[in-house]
Symmetry: C2
Subunit: 416 residues, 2 copies
């Protein structure tokens, strides 16, 4: 009877926030973060507007990338990069005939992709650090893409010869070789160069059509991120550079950590979600897995495997697995991946700053013992918190080292 | 063959952050929030420690609650509250004989519970606002509990008489009446008074044993919340009070909104998770559902139904459903619940401040049109964001109104 039911109104159950409840739907918390970011940014924006008027100077932003508006070394380098793409394409076309020569041409081409822009950035004084980092980023992505291009085409040839040896039972093998050669066109090559992936594939999965509303939402997000976040934060982080006091490093580190981390998060969203989805939508590229759920990672390894899926996929397919196939052990191969990643981190930071300090390299290599420690001693939410802390504290520590050295190198010399 | 598998490495899929993916496991984001709160708090703490030394003065904290350390009006009032508990208990014991007289005694007892502490707070000048709010909170909780106690015992009598009329087919009905009378003891009464629920029940579900580690974790959380969050934030929010400039209200509102909101969140966690779970564990009280997933609420109604489950349960059981049974429509009953809630919000704020301004009352009543608007026009993540914004902006708006009026009333008069 309803009267009897009314008498009992409690039952044994855990609170949702207790880990024993197993509950984990916190989509609302993500919205909370976005609302808090937008609101606190709106407050800063309003305060600055009231105090100083409009601060964002487009000329100043451009001057981050260009010293002299009449010479555009970075833009020229990006345009020149097309040459390397064409070299790789024509080498592949010839490779159907001579394997060894093609391999050598590829090696020289790839080595040039890494050394030529670095040399230009180091030797041409009108390249700014931001412009240099941008150019080297573009060339590094190109390097990884062309390496994958070379590998996949080589695998296709291996596959067709392997099948030919088996005295091809059907026509399908013949057609696969044909497909691979048919795909060696300029159109397919440039689709791969612009597609948001580093791994070449003969037939990329394609989405049925371009959704206009999706495209506009991503574009709006990118513009909003840039205007309302990146520029003000970078400008305000320029200030402590000028009145750098070396005595209170630890306090400064904590003060730098939070805005640096927020900047990284906004960059992550803007680059890995908005702009990659924008490009994918525009190219009808079907595979939108640019990141996995790294925010839940309970080990350092899980974080590195899931935050940047294009690079992770490339490392797995073209570096880690080939090493395993050659008989190296898992631990050696894993360390080699970290070593390669550390090299590129250092390459992308040291060359544009024209400073060789190995902080980025060491920052990446420190991840190995850290991963061991977190995996060994911390579980669940504690492991997750440890990963977050290493992100929030570790990254600005490396940044601060470079800022410090850059300051000593450039401003102390002027003062003397 | 493995070589063939290697060639294809993409498949059609959405990014996790796209709402189309349907993914919502963001437990890690919750950890991120906690880490960020702790870190930014550690920075503030360190900065203050370096600049001013140890700031937290226990005497100052105590003086928030007590004007004169030798007269403790608030503590006395809390002790006196036991009288009302005993009155309710003895009335119930007598009620088995005379229904109408008992009902009258209950009414007088309950009316006194609300008016007596309010009168003391208003008339005794040594009661501070914080002390007054604490006492009125205790008495309000007691009021709701004793109302539930009265209702449930009445239902038990109704049930037994209804069954008696049916010429009791078995002994079970007889035994239920016995149970209800057996439960009218001081021990059961005080268990209910201290249990973290507002709804009385003859047999509360009990957990098998007290888990010591769980108890200590909750205790640690409470202490940490109090020491490292509540006290510094309250102290720093006292500052703008002193140099209150009325001209820049909007900027001030935004400046107040974020710390006020964080304070509310920490209070929520500390009270609804840590301390309620602590009490429940100590009393082996089984039902730990003190809140549901209000952070995902996409309508204002969902938020109010899920953030405070003890009050929501009480309102449903002892106010909303009885109104429905008496023939009122759903919309009238819902509005009546909001009206009751608005009354208690106003009661808990106006009386301790000795200021009758109706801001809290209006703040609650504004929820009705807001709920209609959000429910009508906003869906999904947009609805969720609207609920968050109303929480972040709406609450400090009411707080600011009181702060402003309190300042005008007390400090302007002194200045004249």
């Amino acid at each position: 009877p309803p009267l009897g039911q009314r008498l009992s109104c409690h039952k044994i159950q855990e609170s949702l926030l207790s880990s024993a409840s197993g509950y984990n739907n916190y989509r609302g918390i993500l919205n909370w973060c976005v609302v808090m970011l937008v609101l606190s940014n709106a407050r800063l924006f309003l305060e600055n507007l009231l105090r100083y008027g409009v601060l964002v100077d487009p000329i100043q932003v451009i001057s981050l990338f260009l010293n002299d508006p009449y010479s555009w070394p970075a833009a020229c380098l990006v345009i020149v990069s097309n040459v390397f793409v064409l070299v790789a394409l024509y080498t592949e076309r010839q490779l159907s005939f001579s394997e060894l020569v093609g391999y050598l041409v590829h090696c020289i081409n790839m080595a040039t992709i890494l050394t030529f822009p670095a040399a230009v950035v180091l030797l041409v004084p009108s390249v700014t650090p931001a412009g240099g980092a941008f150019v080297l980023g573009v060339y590094t992505i190109l390097f990884l893409k062309l390496y994958s291009y070379k590998d996949v085409n080589m695998w296709c040839r291996e596959l067709s010869t392997a099948k030919a040896k088996k005295l091809a039972r059907s026509l399908s093998c013949e057609s696969q070789t044909h497909t691979y050669i048919q795909k060696l066109t300029g159109g397919d090559m440039f689709y791969f160069v612009f597609a948001p992936t580093l791994c070449y594939e003969l037939n990329f999965p394609r989405s049925p059509k371009i959704r206009m509303s999706f495209l506009l939402r991503r574009l709006f997000e990118m513009v909003r991120c840039l205007i309302s976040w990146m520029i003000p934060v970078i400008q305000s982080s320029m200030k402590p550079l000028e009145d750098m006091d070396l005595s209170r490093m630890f306090e400064r580190l904590l003060r730098l950590a939070v805005p640096n981390h927020l900047l990284w998060l906004v960059f992550f969203y803007c680059f890995f979600h908005s702009s990659m989805n924008f490009t994918a939508e525009l190219l009808r590229f079907g595979d939108r897995q640019f990141y996995k759920d790294w925010w839940n990672s309970e080990t350092v390894t899980y974080f590195w495997q899931n935050w940047n899926i294009p690079v992770h996929k490339w490392c797995l397919r073209h570096f880690y697995k080939p090493l395993l196939r050659r008989g190296f052990s898992k631990i050696v191969s894993q360390s080699a991946v970290f070593f390669l990643s550390a090299f590129f981190h250092e390459y992308l930071v040291s060359v544009p700053l024209r400073m060789f300090r190995l902080w980025a390299f060491m920052g990446m290599m420190v991840q190995l013992p850290l991963a061991w420690f977190v995996g060994r001693f911390l579980r669940g939410n504690y492991g997750n918190a440890a990963v977050w802390i290493s992100l929030i504290i570790g990254q600005p520590f490396a940044v601060l080292m470079y800022v410090h050295d850059y300051y000593v190198l450039h401003y102390r010399q002027e003062a003397d």
